[in-house]
Symmetry: C2
Subunit: 478 residues, 2 copies
């Protein structure tokens, strides 16, 4: 496939500036913008300001929207990081593309098993290791650099661009929904297309274009047996222990095959149609290779379609950890006084967070009563994100597919994914526009896990993809 | 009860030196001798050397015994802290008392819920807050200061004294047993009586003299589903998760009332005799007050005797936490790749660690097979300490009871306790001598927990107790 001359020039410029782009990513990764940690809030805000400086250099009008205070679980209030709204161009003859990305990252500690400091970008074997390199600082920078390439070559940007960057995504995009609604007739008024730039491919060689995501409901299940931790020798045998009850309750949530045991949980989920299965069968995904890549003890299914459906079309529940217990390395003979089991459920089409919240609370309350637990228990849903799916038979998706071919010399797979982008359903509701999610990072990039990385060639090809995407969206009939 | 004139003088000296003793404890607490943390090993060794300096000032001959290398779970080897053996006097006409204490502490982080820095001694309302203040740095210093008081007043110490201090107690006294055995005909040869100086009273007003302790078996139950952590959205539904299996296994260990469900677990435990119940009924312990002091959601029994028997005469199992999962505060949508459930069992008379290890491994293996788990599982016992009980109808105990009356103006309660001192059974085996455990700290001192403290008056009265104990042991017929 021949790349149009203009794009070819832009791709060349991007290749030539590779080292500069890596240095910019190094600066971004060094900022510890872990949104869920109170002690990292200043750094998270710093990351927004750092990005705003770069966006302003593109000549964009930048507005940093204050969305007020976050109330933490302990009752303390801290400032939310601002939302970055950037606007470049307002030519009514051009399409207006709004690009969403996030500037915050998941927690990461060297002790978790990272080979290197998570907040220092380390290049090894053509890969750039560092928290946020793939999720989502690298992709956000790719968008910025793509526009910069047009400008450096004095090529007229064929679309108006809006940047919509937040820094609370890893906490469920807290505070963002109200801002989006309040900007419906302002910032989002003239938007024609929305591009989410936050996703990882299924594998490592075929790019992916996403038209569906699961939602996510995060729960905290707190059990208290005493007002503070106790000595397991001195007090063991005196009182009912919180750990025993929280573990009983967590154990009641799923069966050995991951099926969620909560009453009526699957009731509203539409059955998989035969044509859906046939779409899945064409997706480039090697079950055995995937299993090896994560060194899985056992996958739920050997069949590709069954496995992908289980991850994309059905809800799953993961238990993440227990706060308040002795989770660090070593031996501490303690009876934890208050512990909080943390789990989340990825929800799918026809499920709503409200419904799931009710089902979970009712179920755990019932289980707790059945056992006759005497500890104190409370369960609450702290984050709620709806599932999303889009019509992929739309010119917007065709434009993205052409851009993919130019950037990677092959077609992308049109797929769903198991992850969640909380704000996407609100964006759909208030704009009514077609939304696409372009993945720039590879399936082995370890987003959310130890040794997150982005391959240098993906970081660079992703920058090309974003340039090509803007170029191709401009061709959609207005 | 009238205090003998010599002791009265010694008590007066101790009172007058209160501030100096508090300053010494401040220095000791500031040393982060957390034996189970690799990064604190240097500080743990420093604590031994710091103590050795103080012991040498008493004119004691000090030997610091190298006991080699500790192999950590990750295969790394680090030096054990040395064992401190101190000898003062070798008069064959005098009784020889060997005093045991430990210099290491449990982990403590301000974030665990401490009101102040755990490693800075803080005085408030007559209490001295700090990790190790009660368990066991305060009591160890009380022993040193008691001898110093005799010397300062030029009162001949009526006994030969041996100090036997270790710094791996909170890790199950790793490495200590072999040293004790090898010193059977050397350091321990002439010992007549052994005094363990490491215990907390049941309540806050009646001193306790302990004649029995439970043993402790610590287990690590590791389950692995993937070679590293994964994203719960991207991968949730693809593979069997380690957290689900470890929680299922932990949940299978006990019922809702804390009863251990492991096959044959109670088989060898002798039944409680009626006369045993009647001894318990005289112990100064207020169930309601205890429940309030820990703000317990529910105690296992309302009856004092039932409750104490459950804690002292029966085994209990506590789950301490899960390593490798997200135990810190906040939200991390992760599928932990490998997790380790940590639990320990306090074992009682007629139970041995070997037997308990076999029962647990067989039971968990059977439960794992029953479920058809496909994750990788391994379970191991990392610490094993035998239960201990002594004959309290011995002149040694009468001497300690007299000392208690002098120091506190009341009788102590002769009791068992639920905790464990790992080396005690080996000391019994190799010396054959009568062993006593004197508690110096109050029942509300929060050993192993947040805001550990020792009351100033207990720290000082405990120093008096140790002086009186040495004075009274000297009177036992040789």
């Amino acid at each position: 496939m021949e790349v149009p001359a203009t794009l070819n020039e832009i791709f060349g410029y991007i290749e030539r500036n590779k080292l500069k782009y890596i240095e910019t990513l190094r600066e971004a990764v060094a900022i510890r913008s872990i949104s869920c940690l109170e002690e990292c809030r200043d750094e998270t805000i710093k990351m927004v300001n750092w990005t705003a400086d770069r966006v302003r250099k593109l000549g964009m009008q930048v507005s940093l929207k204050d969305i007020g205070m976050q109330v933490l679980a302990n009752g303390k209030e801290i400032k939310f990081p601002p939302i970055l709204l950037g606007t470049l161009g307002n030519d009514p003859k051009k399409q207006t593309v709004c690009i969403y990305g996030h500037l915050d990252v998941q927690p990461a500690l060297k002790e978790d098993g990272w080979s290197t400091d998570p907040f220092e970008l380390v290049e090894r074997d053509g890969k750039l290791y560092g928290r946020g390199s793939a999720d989502d600082k690298g992709p956000v920078l790719a968008c910025i650099h793509a526009i910069e390439a047009f400008q450096a070559l004095h090529v007229d940007l064929p679309v108006n661009v809006k940047f919509f960057f937040e820094a609370m995504e890893e906490c469920g995009s807290l505070g963002l929904k109200d801002l989006v609604i309040s900007e419906q007739d302002l910032f989002f008024k003239d938007v024609d297309y929305i591009c989410i730039c936050d996703g990882s491919w299924l594998g490592t060689t075929t790019p992916c274009i996403f038209y569906g995501l699961r939602g996510c409901c995060f729960f905290r299940l707190t059990v208290e047996c005493a007002s503070q931790d106790l000595h397991s020798g001195v007090n063991g045998g005196m009182l009912h222990e919180a750990m025993a009850d929280v573990i009983y309750l967590l154990n009641s949530l799923t069966d050995k095959d991951g099926k969620i045991l909560v009453t009526d949980f699957y009731k509203n989920i539409p059955p998989v149609k035969p044509e859906e299965r046939s779409i899945y069968s064409n997706i480039d995904f090697d079950v055995e290779e995937y299993g090896k890549s994560v060194d899985a003890a056992k996958l739920f299914y050997k069949d590709k379609v069954d496995l992908l459906l289980n991850c994309w079309r059905y809800p799953t529940l993961s238990i993440h950890g227990i706060e308040g217990a002795h989770g660090e390395y070593g031996m501490k003979c303690v009876i934890p006084g208050e512990v909080t089991g943390k789990f989340s459920i990825r929800i799918v089409e026809n499920q709503t967070p409200d419904e799931v919240e009710k089902l979970i609370i009712n179920y755990l309350t019932k289980k707790w009563e059945e056992r006759g637990c005497s500890t104190k228990m409370k369960v609450s849903m702290t984050t709620a994100a709806f599932p999303w799916s889009e019509n992929p038979h739309h010119p917007h998706y065709s434009a993205a597919q052409r851009a993919t071919r130019y950037a990677y010399q092959k077609d992308g797979d049109l797929i769903r994914a198991g992850g969640t982008i909380p704000i996407i359903t609100t964006l759909k509701q208030i704009t009514g526009k077609n939304i696409i999610n372009l993945g720039l990072s590879a399936g082995d990039d370890n987003t959310h896990a130890q040794n997150e990385k982005i391959d240098i060639h993906n970081y660079i090809d992703g920058t090309k993809l974003m340039g090509a995407y803007l170029y191709e969206v401009a061709k959609i009939e207005k």
